[in-house]
Symmetry: C2
Subunit: 391 residues, 2 copies
């Protein structure tokens, strides 16, 4: 059925590889024993409303409170009714045409500021236990990511295994681990990759999550200042996702664990063929310096084991059709400003009108279902009404 | 004419957006007045052959001499007969099937370690004067890039204008300017962009040229260590080229100078549609924070004014055919290890056999000729013999 000028376009249903949930502010402080609760982040605002003192794990630092524009941006980023309520979220998903979604945490941005392994480990356990009732059990359409401490690999492995037992299918990882530990390409992490493959857990990296040293005045997402800064800072975040993927390829982590699957969320998808060629060139032309040698070509490993999600990028479609990279997944980035909340259907039609059905299905549905087999069935057909927000 | 199994494949001639020339070691010290010559880089090797002391512009630092493997890599990188001799180079180009090439300098890697504007300014003048006879006048097939100091914008402008008068068509720029000055997106550089447009000079950035603080022990091209380091370090260099392009787009530098053209050499080309989409998303979704507003869409500016060169990337061809990005240029990276010296024809056939003639012509010939109109005519037809190295 073709829509006429007076009909609304048929609804395109899509799974999302990237969405976010806002936990209660007091999640950790209300659920940890006092000894540990005293060490999780808390802020004391100055009476003048300009600065605050943040206390975290025995350290304290001062920082400016958001100005009016920054506060407005933050509020807009979390304006969706379902930002912090999974039941309300299902109505948002129905309205937008999102069938199922990977759900990332928000409190995790603090993880790199912890120093005491026990505090971080126990706080993330609280988060994982909480999300089962608050998100996972509300609907199979919501696929939350477990959180693990990257301050100690033993803690990461133990919590990954516990989370898998609780029903989690993916583990959220920052694009660079805790600054106390070596980078993802180091052998230190090899037992963790083995455990993730064994537990059948997807490694879900999200761009923009490199550790930030809040105590030294670094601000999340601010690399550039001055003209063009907003777009430069936004675009820069994609590189950290690309780096995570290439560290796992070049170090042999994915080569040695061929069933391990990686999601790089929110960083776009059309960088993959480019990065594959670049790594191929380096691997071959600098072969005398390359350690370890890989049993498969780096491009093959990247194409087979790394999945990538994008929101608005029209270049994602020719990437699937003409570059042979199939692991491309759409994502809403709900409820954030970079995402499609409020204009999801407009975006999906701009992206997919005129695109062959099999390509649209792969990007909107198939890739997600390949990454999370058996989690959720096919969505309503294109154009079908919303399914009464089934829980 | 189709090649049979016993014939060699027809020679494909290609212009190169990326090659390098090795200047004489004593170029600066032999051609500057003694007062300045004493301040250009010189190294004293320890008797044991393990360390050296490098003196530059009043500073001294110690560094390890290359080990056997590093020295071998360096020697291989400059093994081509024409690496430091333009007449011999023409024979190499004929053999490889390279018709014309952009020629980058090598000594410029030291520029970020100078502190005295006069020393750097006069050293680069020496380089520019030298390359006229040594490279430019040898053949119109060689298009050397002028060098300018980025330690002071006034010096950069004056030398850019002098070089244009001497016949230069492009100016080499590092992906980040001298650390004493603000980044390329800062207004400080706006008069330089105006001067470059006025002088009709292409801005030729080369990846891997971010300033390196040699005195603090930084090594060129080493960001990662450990497993995968060689490929990680190689791939990382492309990001600095992408950043230079996006700084010039987002700051308004290209928007305000619509005739200015930028070449990002050696960093690949298929990143451009990806970066265009990413910048579009940031520009629109973070619009409340975007300064300056641009008169054209960032993707349009990037597609029209930024040119990119690649060596082996097969993804470059669908980028032209299916992403609508036309400013893609092949490059040999002669004589370096990342390049095609010794296997240029094999690479060109792998890339272009079966590709429509107009696409092959655009990438191998047309893009270069659009960037440097009137510099050089069409090369010999595909399969034609080498042209007796005409000078």
């Amino acid at each position: 059925m073709t829509a006429t000028a007076t009909e609304a376009p048929a609804k395109i249903w899509a799974n999302s590889g990237d969405s976010h949930f806002l936990e209660p502010d007091d999640l950790w402080s209300s659920n940890l024993p006092k000894r540990l609760a005293d060490l999780v982040p808390r802020a004391e605002k100055d009476p003048d409303g300009l600065w605050e003192t943040v206390h975290i794990d025995g350290q304290s630092f001062r920082r400016r409170l958001p100005n009016v524009a920054q506060q407005e941006f933050y509020d807009l980023s979390n304006r969706a009714p379902g930002a912090k309520d999974a039941k309300l979220r299902l109505a948002d998903l129905d309205q937008e045409g999102v069938w199922a979604e990977v759900v990332f945490p928000s409190l995790g941005m603090w993880s790199s500021s912890f120093r005491t392994p026990e505090v971080l480990r126990e706080a993330l356990k609280v988060s994982n236990d909480w999300a089962i009732d608050a998100i996972m059990k509300v609907s199979p359409r919501l696929v939350p990511t477990a959180q693990v401490s990257t301050l100690l690999v033993e803690d990461a492995i133990a919590e990954l295994q516990r989370a898998a037992g609780l029903g989690y299918r993916a583990v959220f990882l920052p694009t660079t681990p805790h600054p106390a530990q070596p980078d993802w390409n180091n052998k230190y992490w090899m037992p963790f990759w083995a455990a993730a493959q064994e537990a059948n857990m997807v490694l879900a990296f999200h761009v923009g999550t490199d550790p930030v040293d809040l105590a030294s005045g670094q601000a999340v997402g601010v690399t550039y200042r001055g003209p063009g800064g907003a777009v430069l800072n936004y675009t820069e975040t994609t590189f950290s996702g690309q780096r995570a993927a290439m560290k796992l390829v070049t170090s042999g982590a994915l080569d040695q664990h061929p069933n391990l699957k990686v999601l790089i969320a929110e960083g776009g998808a059309s960088w993959v063929p480019f990065l594959a060629d670049r790594m191929t060139e380096g691997y071959r032309q600098h072969s005398m310096a390359v350690r370890p040698k890989l049993s498969r070509a780096p491009a093959e490993i990247l194409y087979e084991q790394v999945y990538a999600s994008f929101q608005h990028d029209k270049s994602a479609i020719p990437t699937v059709m003409h570059h042979g990279y199939r692991n491309v997944m759409w994502g809403s980035d709900y409820p954030h400003m970079e995402g499609t909340f409020g204009h999801t259907q407009e975006t999906l039609h701009e992206l997919f009108d005129g695109v062959p059905d099999d390509v649209r299905h792969r990007i909107t549905i198939g890739t997600f279902n390949e990454l999370f087999p058996g989690v959720i069935g096919e969505p309503p057909a294109v154009g079908a009404p919303a399914p009464q927000s089934q829980a």
